[in-house]
């Protein structure tokens, strides 16, 4: 563990990413204290420039506080992205584990299924799913999970294929353990590091997917989110650049931070690979 932290801390990008991410998480946690009013409430006159009348980031077309929207949006975006990654993780890990552990025709079947989901245009499927099942927290989270699991299933399968012939697995089999217990109790803990790395990168993708959905008007209508703010103000960009500019910076910074942390985790967990890459 200490080795891992030392290696992680040696990566400058990962440290910057972790710091930015900590800021975003703090903003999300503190949003109700920093901006106690509902972010949907009208806080002042519309179209105030950043800095005018005490509005740090200005007000939007209806006079809502852009800064309050960004703080409350951080909660929504982070939460939805984390939960949808959890959904994708459970589908991907289970399918990948089954394919890699059983091999043979089960493996073939699961992999064809995975390839199918990798081939179809996943953003269009996402839009179709959320539109047909009407936008809500549940439909958004489940739909992002459904379109994001395939790469993870491939990684887990690969790990299981190599681990399954190791002695400790054979020992468990000889002892008569059931396959569920071997999969989750014996093999999975040994296959965790690539799963952790891709999960952190998946959160970044989920942030982008969630923002894109709410940009198109397919977000949960009760939740203030960064994508919604950009989508709602894009038609007035000539008059008021700040309403769409700041939420976009928030998205880009969060995604960048998650990607940097993901790469840092990857290098810290696979030091040999990192050295080879010259990182």
């Amino acid at each position: 563990m200490r080795d891992f932290l030392r290696r992680f801390a040696r990566n400058k990008g990962a440290l910057i990413g972790a710091a930015v991410l900590a800021l975003v998480v703090a903003l999300a946690l503190l949003a109700p204290f920093l901006f106690p009013e509902d972010p949907w409430d009208i806080a002042g006159p519309p179209f105030r420039r950043p800095g005018e009348m005490g509005f740090l980031l200005g007000t939007d077309t209806l006079g809502r506080d852009v800064a309050a929207g960004i703080a409350h949006g951080a909660r929504v975006t982070l939460l939805l992205s984390l939960v949808s990654t959890a959904v994708a993780l459970s589908i991907g890990v289970v399918l990948g584990a089954i394919a890699g552990y059983h091999g043979g025709w089960v493996d073939d079947l699961v992999m064809r299924f995975t390839e199918f989901f990798q081939t179809i245009p996943n953003f269009i499927l996402l839009v179709v799913l959320v539109a047909i099942f009407t936008p809500s927290i549940t439909s958004i989270v489940v739909a992002i999970g459904i379109v994001s699991w395939p790469p993870l299933a491939r990684i887990v399968r690969g790990e299981f294929l190599t681990l399954r012939s190791r002695e400790f697995v054979q020992a468990a089999e000889v002892l008569g353990q059931g396959s569920a217990r071997i999969i989750f109790g014996e093999i999975l803990p040994n296959a965790l590091s690539p799963v952790i790395v891709s999960a952190s990168l998946m959160v970044a993708t989920a942030v982008l997917l969630e923002s894109a959905l709410s940009f198109l008007g397919l977000g949960d209508p009760n939740l203030m989110s960064w994508g919604y703010m950009i989508g709602a103000s894009r038609t007035v960009i000539r008059q008021a650049w700040w309403i769409s500019c700041f939420p976009g910076i928030a998205i880009a910074l969060t995604v960048l931070a998650l990607n940097l942390v993901g790469e840092g985790l990857s290098d810290a967990l696979n030091p040999r690979l990192a050295r080879k890459r010259g990182a």
Binding site: T119, N122, I132, L208, V255
Partner: protein, 326 residues
């Protein structure tokens, strides 16, 4: 040569299965959606017309067992009947085909730009690994990779259209300009720059990272050292030895990315009001025209599958070593 034909035949069979899978998936979505499937097929506008609903129920056999409904649905789509958009008062296939060339123009330009710029930047970073150039390119790729495409598009509009006034903001040509021939092509070209740049930049970042990593890996291999030992010029080693071999993963990846490219066109065409199938999908979402949305999903998937077949073909040309049967 027989190997190559066999390989392509195998891929074709696979493509047919994927298309059948997509039709089944669509059918499941209509059935699983909350409420009456006829209402889903009719969309918000059509649901108000009882006669249209009755027609749909009869056409899709909604009073029959589920497996028969699936057969009827499959038959319809395989005979190129995607249904009728009540809202737009047109057959869905006609609506999509009218918009498809615009999307192919946009995604094709974006992809070409992404590959050329991405591979060049990646190759440059790999050649000067560890230098200022390398850091600058790697950082640029990281930044672009993190930006939401729809936002990047808006910011480019702000810079190049609103501030500098160099390029048009939306549409695919100047309305009522009366341009013909070369003038028309130039006009469309000017409108194409911002949307294709926005769509392409993200993939440029992906290809740049991929090319750099792949070239660094190949540069360590024996045949490169042999080339150097023979005294070949460095430029020749970089181009014909390292880059050519490093391009394989890039080609594979370009195939895999086709779906993302077409998906991204929903966002980009919405931002720039580009009249392709992505914009059509956005309009379908706005008015809850689900059958049109599902039709776009099918056609976009077929487009992606066709593109995958094409990259498979290119693959067999770029790398003749491939065991095609494998």
């Amino acid at each position: 040569m027989g190997g190559r034909l066999g390989f392509i035949a195998q891929r074709l069979v696979k493509a047919v299965f994927v298309i059948l899978g997509i039709i089944v998936l669509n059918f499941l979505l209509i059935r699983l959606a909350p409420g009456d499937p006829a209402l889903v097929l009719a969309g918000e506008a059509g649901a108000a017309d009882p006669k249209f609903l009755d027609d749909l129920r009869r056409e899709f056999g909604l009073d029959q067992p589920v497996w028969r409904q699936l057969l009827i649905y499959m038959q319809g789509i395989l005979s190129f009947d995607l249904g009728f958009s009540y809202r737009q008062k047109q057959p869905i296939l006609d609506l999509i085909l009218a918009r498809l060339p615009q999307t192919i123009l946009l995604t094709g330009t974006a992809l070409a730009f992404a590959i050329v710029a991405g591979v060049s930047l990646g190759a440059m970073a790999a050649r000067h690994v560890g230098t200022w150039w390398d850091s600058a390119i790697t950082t640029l790729a990281l930044l672009v990779y993190a930006m939401p495409q729809f936002w990047l598009g808006l910011m480019l509009v702000l810079l190049f259209s609103v501030q500098l006034g160099w390029l048009p903001t939306f549409g695919s040509n100047t309305i009522n300009s009366g341009f013909t021939g070369l003038d028309h092509a130039l006009d469309v070209g000017r409108h194409l720059i911002l949307p294709s740049l926005t769509l392409g930049l993200f993939f440029m970042a992906v290809y740049a990272r991929l090319t750099r990593a792949s070239m660094l890996e190949v540069a360590d291999l024996d045949f490169v050292r042999t080339g150097r030992a023979k005294g070949l010029a460095e430029g020749r080693i970089q181009r014909s030895y390292i880059l050519r071999n490093a391009l394989l993963p890039v080609v594979t990846y370009a195939g895999l990315q086709a779906g993302y490219l077409v998906g991204g066109s929903i966002l980009i065409e919405t931002v720039f009001a580009w009249p392709g199938i992505g914009r059509l999908a956005f309009e379908a979402v706005l008015v809850r025209d689900y059958n049109l949305l599902l039709g776009i999903f099918i056609i976009a998937s077929v487009l992606v599958i066709a593109f995958n077949l094409l990259t498979d073909l290119i693959y067999t040309i770029v790398d003749p070593r491939i065991e095609l049967g494998a």
